[in-house]
Amino acid sequence: MNTLKITIAAFIFLGCVTAGAVEKTEINFAFIGATDGNAYDGVAQGIHEANLQGRFLGQNYTLHEFSADNMDAIDPGVFIALIVATNADDVRQAGNRFKDHAVLNVAVHDDALRNECSSNLLHVIPSGRMLADAEAQWLQKSPDAGVTASGWHPDFVKFAARDLNKRFKKRFSRPMDQYAWAGWAAVKMTSDSVARKDLTDPAGLLQYLKTGLSFDGQKGLDMDFRDTGQLRQLLLMVDPAGDLVGEAPVRGVVAPDDVDSLGLASCYN
């Protein structure tokens, strides 16, 4: 909060909003995965947007890329959190190596990772079981063959999803898919927490993400994490032609806000 006041004072004093007007808090993310994929683009979008907020609050966000076979190069003291976009083994390994850090999984649907209820793995991308449950709910409503669930769709417009899709497409000239959304969301929930709570230490951030998060992921819900480490979220239903046909929880089958009807709701069930 002090940082905010100093920032405001500096704005008044200088009479202008310039990036260099205030001392910056540097916030660094480690990204493990391919830099030519959608998840990476989503993370980059998130960093860009975090800096749009950070310019008002004196925070500067930077992304550092690593390959999964070179986790030794990651200096834990530098990073606020890690984002992994490869496979279950890498997610698990990063979780074990960087116990004090939030390890944000933005690409792996693997159910076993959730069932392990690890203390520092946070799964932004939906689990396989969540997707399967959504598809089962859809089948109860209409026997359309081949409708699949996804964490995001480029034609989703509600809850200002339209704006996010537009921004992403403008920047990368391709539609935002669920991996890009998860990458964006991983950064956004962190930058929101940094801005609100002045959290700049990895352990404090991890604790807040697990217990205090109330995140606007442009899917209309206040999102938070289950004790399995899975992000509660709305899913989108896509027909075989790739068109958006609905949302899950599927209205008429379960209550529209019953997001825990999708996937393993708790470690203790």
Binding site: F11, I12, V17, E49, L52, F56, A160, D163, D216, D257
Partner: protein, 316 residues
């Protein structure tokens, strides 16, 4: 008698200068690309005017002569003559103009949702006077009655940006709950109220310190507050409850919920008559405008308008 005549003459002259108010209610219909004109006495739609692709924000010039409409997909503000209801002109207003507010000096302050900017235009000439960098997805715009402060809410950055006029510098960035949508000022400009859609909160901001002095989370989880206005004596707040399908009445001091008034589905826009007797709400999904009697805080009439009514303003 002589004095009375002089006063009458002055009043008449003033009325002519300020253009006789028609009492009409104007509503933008986001998906039928038109505006509904509601007669202020009969409360019936008397006319529908096509304005272009995705009309949203709506406002009236301080002299009461012109109606302004943000036509979002065309990136323009459409200007309509309030007397003839003819479209006078359109001017370019930056990328994706959504909401705006009219300054007492006649300039308009617009949030450009796509661009993370607020911009200032002279609607008489269409000239852009200033551009101010704000947070992502700027949305609500409110201007203090003395014209010294403009609040722009940025939905994705979760801030109220306080812009000082005429310098157009940002003097404060106030972090609020997720997805701040709208703001309003008390008449003396000392207090601002702001809604946050996702966090379901209404916040009270002291405009001398720029600090949030009170927060009220609306208990109804479905309540996604959008527009907010004060009643005439500033004792009550009316908050559009979004998907709770209610206009929520709060006491302005403690922000305790007094009542939820059931209206149509997905209520967003609100406007109050100058005499304070009625509040009009736009019920987006229902395609209706609800008329609330502020004495009883009950709906006295529901008016069918176009598709997805969004903004509402009264020419009174």
């Amino acid at each position: 008698m002589k004095h009375l005549i002089i006063v009458s003459v002055i009043l008449l002259a003033a009325m002519q200068l300020a253009h006789a108010a028609s009492g009409r209610i104007f509503v933008t219909n986001e998906r039928s690309n038109d505006i509904s004109v509601i007669n202020g006495s009969s409360l019936e739609v008397e006319r529908t005017i096509e304005v272009g692709d995705r009309p949203r924000g709506i406002g009236i010039s301080p002299d009461g002569a012109e109606l302004y409409i943000a036509v979002s997909e065309e990136n323009v503000i459409a200007v309509i003559d309030l007397e003839t209801l003819e479209l006078l002109r359109k001017f370019q207003a930056g990328s994706d103009p959504e909401t705006f507010a009219v300054h007492p000096n006649g300039n308009i302050y617009i949030s450009n949702e796509d661009d993370a900017k607020a911009s200032v235009y002279n609607p008489k000439t269409g000239e852009q006077l200033a551009e101010i960098e704000v947070g992502l997805e700027p949305e609500g715009v409110a201007i203090s009655p003395d014209g010294k402060h403009v609040i722009v809410t940025s939905e994705s950055t979760n801030m109220l940006h306080v812009i000082q006029v005429p310098e157009h510098t940002i003097v404060a960035n106030i972090l609020v709950g997720a997805r701040p949508r709208a703001a309003t000022f008390t008449n003396d400009g000392a207090i601002a109220y702001s809604t946050s859609e996702i966090s379901g909160e209404v916040k009270k901001v002291d405009m001398s310190t720029f600090e949030v002095v009170a927060v009220r989370k609306i208990a109804d989880e479905k309540a996604k507050p959008k527009d907010v206005i004060l009643n005439k004596d500033e004792t009550k707040l009316y908050v559009a409850g979004g998907r709770s399908n209610q206009v929520i009445v709060m006491d302005a001091d403690q922000m305790e919920v007094i009542k939820g008034i059931p209206v149509g589905k997905r209520v967003w826009g609100l406007a109050m008559t100058k005499d304070g007797s009625k509040v009009f709400s736009t019920d987006g999904v229902s395609g209706t405008v609800s008329v609330i009697d502020t004495g009883k805080d009950e709906v006295i009439k529901t008016i069918e308008v176009g598709k997805f009514p969004w903004g509402v303003v009264i020419d009174d």
